[in-house]
Amino acid sequence: MPEPAARAELRQALRALLVESAPELSGELDDDTPLLSSGLVESTTLLDVALWVEDRIDAEVDLGALDLVTAWDSVRAILDFVERHRPAPAFRGPATA
């Protein structure tokens, strides 16, 4: 089944953020590359990711309440987190005249 376009866009944006913040990631970054447990992503980059997530889900993220090494250890995990927490799209009913 093809991946929804929205997830593909999110992935592209997240990868761009990670590579911009930590250029050494560019050659080895796939969806399952361990980011935190491996030490590849460190505090300032993680902070950039946290702000990016907040913007995507339109809500505050309480970092202290998360087990980050489990919840955000890969691009896939971060995308899953965003999809689980982003607001549902507004229902667009039939147009009325």
């Binding site: 460190e42 946290a50 202290g64």
Partner: protein
């Protein structure tokens, strides 16, 4: 390219560290050296500074300090020395190279080898919070800062701004706008002018210095409910209020035998306008209320803040009634910095942080004051 090395502090690095600290609070070298000596050399709980330095090409480019603290927990007030992580900085050109993790790994291993069972970080901002949470630290939550702002409606500020651009008259601008003088002292100018300095009839009065013995006696008289709190004895208070970067004022209730006290603090460096309530004790609710009212009435501070994470609801309610509201600071730390704890019994820090038989991962098990952290 030269490699990075993490080494313990040695006296020959003293000047390097003072220079590095400009990235933390922009103090000049004499101020930073005074702070370094006070915090680490004269700390009452550690015999020698515990500072971990990242060195590159013979130059100190990053640091993490651990200042000593002493905590009492449980009904018998069992005491423990705990290293507190603070003063983290890395030179901008060396950031995003994994140095936070490398410094902290060395620190955790060294502290465990020295026999410490856990470490605290008492005012972790967003970067430290993020880096710490992936290296085994656990958050008790933000300090839940409450904040009170008083609008400054005055002709003095705008006139001072105008004067700054005028020939010859610019030199009077600070005087007119009320911005002259050292930052900390200036914030207390009104309090110093209006509060009575003498003990008169058991009322509330102002001290420029702590009354250490009387404060310790009051703390002992009020007792301890067993939650984790810093030991507040004479050596601690004497050392703590000698912080060379902070200015303190003390409101006392009572006479030789105190009924209460409230400690106010301001930063001597930088342009911060906020005054903080860093410690507050009282024998009765009416004394507690009186101390707060006196601070507000005499000080008329533009900004007044305090931490409320472990305050009882009655005191939070008192603050709300006095116009305090939850702070709304920068993203990821809106209600102030976080309190962090880490067990030191394993490389991953996955053990349960505890002192004695008290677990430390629930804020309800703490009696936390701003004074205990270097923010206060």
């Amino acid at each position: 390219m030269a490699a990075y090395e993490v080494v313990p502090y040695r006296p020959e690095f003293r000047g390097h560290v003072a220079a590095l600290q400009r990235h933390l609070w922009r103090g000049d070298e004499p101020a930073n050296l005074a702070y370094l000596d006070w915090k680490y050399e004269r700390n009452p709980y550690l015999p020698a500074p515990l500072i971990y330095l990242a060195v590159h090409d013979g130059r100190v480019i990053g640091m993490r300090g651990m200042f000593g603290s002493a905590w009492e927990v449980g009904p018998r007030g069992e005491r423990f020395v705990v290293p507190c992580a603070d003063d983290f900085t890395i030179l901008p050109e060396h950031r995003k190279r994994g140095l936070f993790g490398r410094i902290m790994t060395v620190a955790h291993e060294d502290l465990a080898a020295r026999g410490y069972r856990c470490a605290f970080s008492l005012s972790a901002g967003p970067v430290t919070l993020a880096g710490s949470l992936v290296s085994g630290w656990r958050s008790l939550g933000s300090v839940r800062e409450m904040h009170r702002e008083r609008p400054v409606a005055s002709w003095r500020g705008p006139l001072g701004t105008q004067l700054r651009s005028w020939p010859l008259l610019w030199r009077w601008a600070d005087l007119v706008s009320g911005r002259g003088g050292p930052a900390g002292r200036r914030l207390f100018r009104r309090l110093d002018a209006r509060a009575p300095r003498a003990r008169a009839g058991g009322k509330i009065w102002l001290g420029l210095e702590p009354r250490v013995d009387a404060m310790v006696e009051l703390i002992a008289r009020l007792g301890h409910d067993g939650r984790a709190r810093h030991v507040r004895d004479a050596p601690y208070l004497t050392w703590r209020f000698a912080n060379p970067l902070h200015e303190y004022r003390f409101l006392f209730a009572g006479a030789d035998r105190l009924d209460g006290y409230l400690v106010l603090q301001a930063y001597r460096l930088g342009g911060r306008r906020s005054v903080n309530i860093v410690d507050w004790e009282a024998a009765t609710p009416s004394v507690r209320t009186g101390l707060l009212r006196a601070a507000l009435a005499w000080g008329r501070f533009a900004e007044l803040s305090t931490w409320t994470i472990t305050l009882p609801e009655a005191m939070r309610s008192l603050l709300r009634e006095a116009g305090f509201a939850p702070a709304h600071r920068r993203r990821l730390a809106r209600e102030g910095p976080h309190l962090l704890v880490r067990a030191l019994d394993g490389a991953a820090g996955r053990g349960e942080p505890a002192l004695g038989d008290r677990r430390l991962i629930d804020a309800a098990d703490w009696d936390m004051r701003m004074l205990y952290s270097m923010a206060g």
